[in-house]
């Protein structure tokens, strides 16, 4: 479990800062994460990994995405990050022998700067992708989606 903190790690991808402020999103997101994981809001940090640090199961992430959609009025697609990474390597191989390719990992490292690079390394399987997602990833996704909805730049 990460230590409680209100400090925001400056990891937001380009375009994520439009519209809602990072701290505001985090404050509105914490109760939703608490609802699906049972972890008290004060123990939810922006660098917390949803599954390993906060104990979320994969279906909890689906539930959380619904709560986020209702709370923020945005739409989160299934396999959001995988789809975006795939789109960035058209014609390229995303997965080989059950593991993500170097090209896929490189794109994911760019798409998910909030994730420690040592979590996005060779041997990671597609199905394991949700295990690396942090609260910060979700915060910045919400910021970007909200900005897109408001007609902002909002795309990484």
């Amino acid at each position: 479990m990460n230590s409680p903190t209100d400090t925001i790690t400056p990891t937001a991808p380009p375009g994520a800062g439009n519209g809602l402020a990072e701290q505001e999103v985090l404050e509105r997101l914490r109760p939703l994460i608490t609802e699906v994981t049972g972890v008290p809001p004060r123990e939810i940090a922006i660098e917390s990994v949803l599954m390993t640090d906060l104990g979320a199961e994969s279906i909890d992430l689906l539930d959380l995405s619904f709560l986020v959609e209702e709370q923020f009025g945005i739409t989160i697609e299934p396999n959001e990050f995988e789809s975006r990474a795939r789109a960035r390597i058209p014609g390229g191989v995303f997965e080989k022998d059950g593991c993500l390719t170097d090209a896929a990992l490189a794109e994911l490292r760019q798409l998910l700067p909030e994730v420690r690079p040592d979590r996005l390394t060779a041997g990671l399987r597609r199905a394991d992708l949700p295990t690396v997602l942090t609260v910060g990833v979700l915060v910045h996704l919400i910021q970007r989606k909200a900005a897109e909805k408001d007609g902002g730049v909002g795309h990484a």
Binding site: I59, L62, D63, F66
Partner: protein, 244 residues
């Protein structure tokens, strides 16, 4: 019992599926049901339901087309309301001994019965999770639970439906979604008509009620499990076999 609810039934034009559609509609649910190729039967059932004052509609669907199932889930949501009852009834069988079952035969029976259940459930369960409400009833069979003179691929598929039911019930119970299976024994109609006459007589001899069940009897159980009257029944495979 089901007033204000919206139900989705796959394979609604078969003997059991049709009975389920009729009973759910009779109990007040708005019922969307699917057919694969039997458009004429669907039209006749639509007319019957309309005449009875039911709120029902039929839709063509290949349960192996996941994209079509997802699109239909959205369409039914718009046209009849959010689905809170899903009945996975569509299924196929064929009468062959294992030694004569070709790989394509095996795949077809497993696909329609098992993969189709997965794809259709996936299309609807997201909405149920979002609304934190739902009841899923899967159609099993005694073929998958007892030593019977039935095709091996069909028995395997129906046994898988029970595993699907138990696991899914565990997964989505936290969202107020109940998942159960009904396990009919020999019926007077439906796939049971494929059972050899000798085996039918044997079934009746060992059945405490000494007869085959009727599709309507299965449908009544489905409607009960789908209703709030069964609010504490979850992760069960309930036999309806006349007492074997």
């Amino acid at each position: 019992m089901l007033k204000g609810r919206t139900a989705f039934v796959t394979g609604g034009t078969g003997a059991v599926g049709g009975a389920i559609v009729r009973v759910l509609a009779r109990e007040g649910a708005a019922v969307a049901y699917t057919y694969h190729t039997a458009a004429d039967k669907a039209a006749a059932l639509d007319a019957e339901l309309l005449a009875a004052g039911a709120h029902a509609a039929s839709y063509p669907l290949d349960v192996l087309d996941g994209a079509a199932a997802a699109a239909l889930a959205e369409r039914v949501d718009r046209e009849l309301g959010p689905v809170d009852i899903l009945v996975n009834n569509a299924g196929v069988t064929q009468v062959l001994p294992l030694a004569l079952i070709e790989e394509a035969d095996w795949d077809r029976v497993m696909d329609v019965n098992v993969k189709g259940t997965f794809l259709v459930t996936k299309a609807f369960v997201r909405g149920m999770i979002r609304r934190r409400r739902g009841a899923v009833v899967n159609m099993g069979s005694l073929a998958g639970m007892r030593v019977l003179d039935v095709p091996v691929h069909y028995a395997t598929a129906k046994s898988a439906i029970v595993g699907f039911t138990l696991s899914l019930a565990r997964e989505v119970g936290r969202y107020g979604i109940r998942v159960n299976a009904v396990v009919p024994g020999m019926l007077t109609e439906g796939v049971s008509v494929n059972i050899p006459e000798r085996s039918q007589e044997e079934y009746k001899r060992f059945c405490t009620l000494s007869r085959a069940g009727r599709p309507e009897e299965v449908a009544e159980l489905v409607a009960f499990l789908a209703s709030d009257r069964a609010s504490y029944i979850n992760a069960q495979a309930i036999f309806i076999d006349g007492g074997l």
